[in-house]
Amino acid sequence: MNLEFSEEMNMLQDMLNKFLHNEYSFEQRQTLSRQGIGYSEDNWQQFAEMGLLGVPFDEQYGGFGFGQAGLIVVMEAIGKGLIVEPYLASIVLAGQLVQQAGSEAQKRTLLEPLIGGGLKLAFAYVERQSRYNLADVVCKAVKRGNQFCIRGSKSVVFNAETADKIIVCVRTSGESISQAGISLFIVDKGSKGLSTRDYETVDGLRASEVHFDGVMVDESSLIGELDNAYDAIQTVIDSASAAICAEGVGVITQLRDKTVEYLKTRKQFGQPLSRFQVLQHRCVDMFMHEEQMRSLAYLAAIKVTSDDASESAKSVSSAKVYLADARTIVAEQAAQLHGGIGVTDELDVAHYVKRLTMLNTLFGDRDFHLQRLCSL
């Protein structure tokens, strides 16, 4: 057993820390988040040059083959810097879906430009009624000759605005809420009948409602087998869930660190707030949660690729439950302990708080994952 990062991972981590330190101040992040497309295309190209976009992909397609271990290193940095570039949407979700379910030809044509920074993807999987149930798919694709016609809507599709292509999960057969009968198609953003309504998210990112009004796609746009995409989707969502647990570790680390520092400097009643034991204990609770969260995030990263599906699900959902608890133990306390400035837009703390809170919602909240653990 060896629970240390490999030399390669350490180098990746150093490179990311340097990037955050030199080129990603909170002020720069805020400016990017609020303008234009909500992130920097230059940064994206730089990510490509740094090799970040190839981290989880196999070497034969131009990636680094670092897999989930590589992802946690990148995602932890994304959490630390509150990075707004569409790594989760384009690489972790859509890119991995291609790697997981795509044909040899699709992998060759899609992954190389994706890794090179010339192609961006998004993954549309949420629907108005679906909540966190990945099988609750109503949006339909119907066969017409050797084409498929897609009709329906997808909700809260992260970074669809700047994606060149959208991977969408649709019902091709079966009852709604059945795992069988779900298929994946990759659709050009510019397709006739495809429209998006783009918006900001409360945690400073971008998402869209995506409407398919009789969008026609060729059979070659099918990713994976017809009717049989559910397992691939679940696999990739689990990988992404493990990845955002690592992002959460980055956010929690920052909030704990900033809160401890603040209490040491802020004086009331003639002494630093850090002298008050009740506040010390809250910080210690944050610290313990941070360490336990890190453990579960690493465990999930190791186990998520396990052949034993229930082992994998167990590790991911456990980590996700812990991530949800960070809302009360870390996010709410960080705001509380900062007093008034903890609820202002100006201070970075509120933005870490927002991201950590929304990570609970992403890919299923506490109840959802506890329920899943109970059913394993």
Partner: protein, 398 residues
């Protein structure tokens, strides 16, 4: 013990309900129900309607425009207002400076300020907190030098709610340096239109502008604008902080929010069924309801003591801590109810409501910002930690 309202109280309840049904403006009601930001004009409109009816200041003595209601009647009024989605009147005039002037003000001050407070013609702000004086309010640094016919005021106040709307601000300022920091503080009434006043917005986590930092630069405050005696400001400040704390628990409002939560969960889907039928979600609502039920009864017990003429004492600290915890728990559940629809954010919709088709459930877009914004309730009005310190000391003698 009898929890039922008397026939008179019951009749009063119906009278209030009927009045609100026929007089409360529909557009404001809708905004409150959805969570759209309120404008100054909304507050003024509703306050003027209540003023005409004579119901604007339940806590004031009748001769100055109060209602002469019993504590139970006040509670009934609050209950009905919450049930009708009434906006909560701004407290700085009616609940803060008004009662202070009634208790400590001169007859001239009462005549000069009280009528405009009732009519909402003059808006007040609270100038207590400073950048370095939050929980430790008594360490405030704003200075007022006695120059004979005026005080020369210099310094800054922060977190000033509605500072950008206010015509007047009541300010705690240091008029002398004494051995104890609570001494030498005076309570001054300052005109916000003085050219020496400047107001800088502070944007909160929900993206809204409600609070401000206020700067005072060489302001001449007329000597008659002091309330009480020079150096006795701390007594007044404390009086204000303890006054009229029975509404602090906000039980009726929380009940209304639970109702709203259930209605929302009835519409949202989970595995093809209403979310409200999901055992996990149901259980979380039940947990808050248990806490709220206890809080309501505790609040009524305090009211009953008040009716019997006993002071509320440190009960207000308990009501504040538990009240804010319940409110915050409900904001979290509202946000959780809409799952992914907690993500969309649009400042313009926050301010004016949807002008086009909503994204997801109509009210969803407000819920995450409200959850984040509501964190403030355990910070302001004496933080929850400070309230616990008070109870530890005053109630338990620790």
């Amino acid at each position: 013990m009898d929890l039922n309202y008397s026939p008179e109280e019951q009749a009063f309840k119906l009278e209030v309900r009927e009045f609100l049904r026929t007089n409360y403006p529909k557009d404001i009601k809708e905004k409150v129900a959805k969570g759209v930001a309120l404008k100054k004009s909304d507050y003024v409109t509703w306050q003027k309607i209540l003023y005409k009816k004579g119901w604007v200041a339940p806590s004031w003595p009748e001769q100055y425009g109060g209602t002469g209601w019993s504590p139970v009647q006040k509670y009934i009024f609050e209950e009905e207002c919450a049930a009708a989605n009434c906006l909560r009147l701004v407290s700085f005039g009616l609940v803060m400076i008004g009662p202070v002037l009634l208790e400590f003000g001169t007859e001239e001050q009462k005549q000069k300020y009280l009528p405009d407070i009732l009519k909402s013609d003059v808006w007040w702000a609270q100038g207590y907190s400073e950048p370095n004086a939050g929980s430790d309010l008594a360490s405030l640094q704003t200075r007022a030098e006695n120059k004979g016919d005026h005080y020369l005021l210099n310094g800054t106040k922060t977190w000033t709610t509605h500072g950008h709307y206010a015509d007047m601000i009541f300010v705690l300022a240091r008029t002398s340096q004494e051995d104890r920091k609570q001494k030498g503080i005076s309570f001054l009434l300052v005109d916000m239109k003085d050219p020496g006043v400047s107001v800088e917005p502070i944007i909160t986590v929900d993206g809204m502008h409600v609070v401000n930092q206020v700067f005072f630069d060489e302001i001449k405050v007329p000597i008659e604008n002091i309330v009480g005696k020079e150096g006795e400001g701390w007594t007044i400040a404390k009086y204000l902080l303890q006054h009229e704390r029975t509404n602090i628990a906000q039980v009726p409002r929380s009940k209304k929010q639970i109702e709203r939560l259930k209605a929302l969960a009835e519409k949202e889907q989970c595995n093809g069924k209403p979310l409200l039928e999901d055992t996990n979600f149901r259980r979380k609502i039940a947990e808050v309801e248990v806490e709220l039920m206890a809080l309501e009864m505790t609040n009524l017990r305090v009211l009953s003591k008040l009716s019997a003429g006993e002071p509320p004492g440190s009960a207000s600290s308990l009501l504040k801590v538990k009240g804010t915890e319940v409110q915050q728990a409900i904001t979290a559940l509202l946000m959780e109810a809409v799952a992914y629809y907690g993500f969309p954010y649009d400042k313009n919709v926050m301010l004016d409501g949807w002008q086009e088709d909503p994204i997801g459930p109509e009210e969803a877009i407000f819920l995450a910002p409200h959850y984040f914004d509501w964190r403030k309730t355990s910070i302001y009005g004496g933080s929850n930690e400070i309230q616990k310190n008070i109870m530890a000391k005053a109630v338990l003698g620790l």
